[in-house]
Amino acid sequence: MNELIAVMVILPIASALFLNFLHEKDRTIKILAIVTAFVLPVLALIAPFGTHYFGGYVPLAQNMTIGQDLPALITNTQLFQFHPGIVYIFNSAQQLLIFVLCLIAFLAIFTSLNETKRPSGVYAFLMFMGTASISAILLSDDIFNLFVFFEIAALAQVGIIVASGIKNNYETALKYTLLGNIAGPLLLLGIALLLGLTGNVNITDIIYSLKHGLVNPYSPAILMALGLITFGWMYASGLPPFHTIKSAVYSKALPHGAALLQAFSVFSMVAIGIILLRMFSYIPFTKTAIIGISLLAMVLGITMAIVQTDFKRMLGFLAVGELGYIGIGLGLGTAFGITAGLFQAVNEAIITAFLFIGFGTVLYKTRTADTRKLGGMMFVNPRLALLVLLAGFAMAGVPPLNAFQSKLMLIQASLQSGLPELGIIMILLSIVTFMTFMKAFYTIYMRPKPADLKILDNKIPRSTIISMVVFLIICVILGLFPQLATNSLQTLAAGLV
């Protein structure tokens, strides 16, 4: 019994509802939102590891008061071991992932409260709701609970796009919801097939049934379920063919919103990817499919990023492209490879949030995202330019920063698994990523300022700069001491092989 695990999901939902309740009381909302957002990552750090059974429904085998008088019909079968209620599992890997997610949420909320003029309204509500649902997806050991929070997360993301007020955001929001309403029911159909075959929605129990021959592990319905869950996974994380809509979604949100949205995609990709590996790693085709989809995501995302003229769209495509690295780590299927993929996920979430907020300052100063109309921003604020440049270095994998460590691990893992081609493609695409970033950086910051570019006189809020510095510090710390992250990820990765 561990109540703090449930609090990690309940607290953001409760604070989201409460903030909505306090409409128009700007000062109170500001303080309350920052305090709750600050508590969330701390909570992830202090909560003890363990399992939380919702409503106290432990398996019958552990429940001595009910368990002892039951007939042999139940005690001699697996019913005695199965989990009757929703179960949340919290271990070192979940701790790190939720800590990073909540930290990004905290910095995004912190930035947004100072950049938007009116803190009251639905924006903070949606951010908290999204954070809660992604935390639940990471924690949940119950596949239907995962589906429910998958839908809530999709609605929260739509809300964040609608609340941004950028031109054409409603169109993108409608496209995203329509596609989500195809992917969501089909994911549910996949879950239903698993439920129909094994009679269970608890992932541990489904794995037990598959591994111990209670059901035929190669039955067509299982393969169909695997395909459908993979499809839902592609929607949640924005892998092809959803890469166009996902990058449009990032570009139609405000910079802090986009930072949080890409963290949502990264972590739901990790969570559902881990579940796919846990359940179906005995089917060899699963890993091949994950590697194939990831390769497609990398190549399409990064090549599309180069040819964009809108820098937010470019960042969106880069974020999709970087997802491919995580997928390759997961798809290699070795403990080292999965650790590398999860580490890359942590790094990517941080770096892309850093980049979105960093380039967001350009938007804040000039109100345009078109690289053809921008230039000369270096002289407006050289220190900010330096921070953005460092973020770009981090993304490309320049040594003292964190992505270097994870990309190096990924390349080593691909060599160890006997697939050096993947390593070569990863190096190639890293170089192209860096080139893409430098192209944008050059046109925005270093090129002489176009005559018709108006730079607004509003000062960049201090909270934005603080957030960027915090991101930079994390990048450096993880770059110098990668063991901090990999040690906590290793147990999970070793359990998946």
């Binding site: 839908e151 993108t172 309403n181 969501g184």
Partner: protein
């Protein structure tokens, strides 16, 4: 193969899913697309309910005059039904969101055609 009502119910669910995907893919009107998606969700719900059905069984409500073993052998499987209740509510709420977006977009563009509103100009 014996054609029983459970199998036919699976086919009904399958055809609703196919009709839904067809509507979302080929009909141009946004309201019709959303109607199609509602049918898709209905089809999946029907599929799940059909899975819990037991031919010749009884409703999964424990009445005072039943014995436990009789109930355990004859009752339909209640877990899918609990899931569908949640899924129906989720479907209705996402439907409301989509229709709200459609109303706003119609006010802006004066049209309901997907190729006109959701065309290629989002950059």
């Amino acid at each position: 193969m014996v054609i029983d009502s459970q199998l036919m119910s699976f086919f009904t669910a399958g055809s609703l899913i196919v009709i839904g995907i067809f509507a979302a893919l080929f009909l141009d009107n946004l309201i019709k697309k959303i109607i199609g998606l509602a049918f898709l969700a209905d089809g999946v719900n029907l599929f799940i309910i059909t899975m819990g059905y037991k031919a010749g069984g009884i409703v999964y409500i424990f009445m005072p005059n039943m014995t436990i073993s009789n109930f355990a052998q004859n009752a339909s499987y209640p877990l899918p039904f609990a899931l569908v209740l949640t899924s129906i509510v989720i479907g209705a709420s996402t439907l409301a969101v989509m229709l709200g977006l459609v109303i706003v977009l119609n006010k802006r563009h004066g049209s309901l055609s997907a190729s006109k509103i959701l065309g290629d100009k989002g950059e």
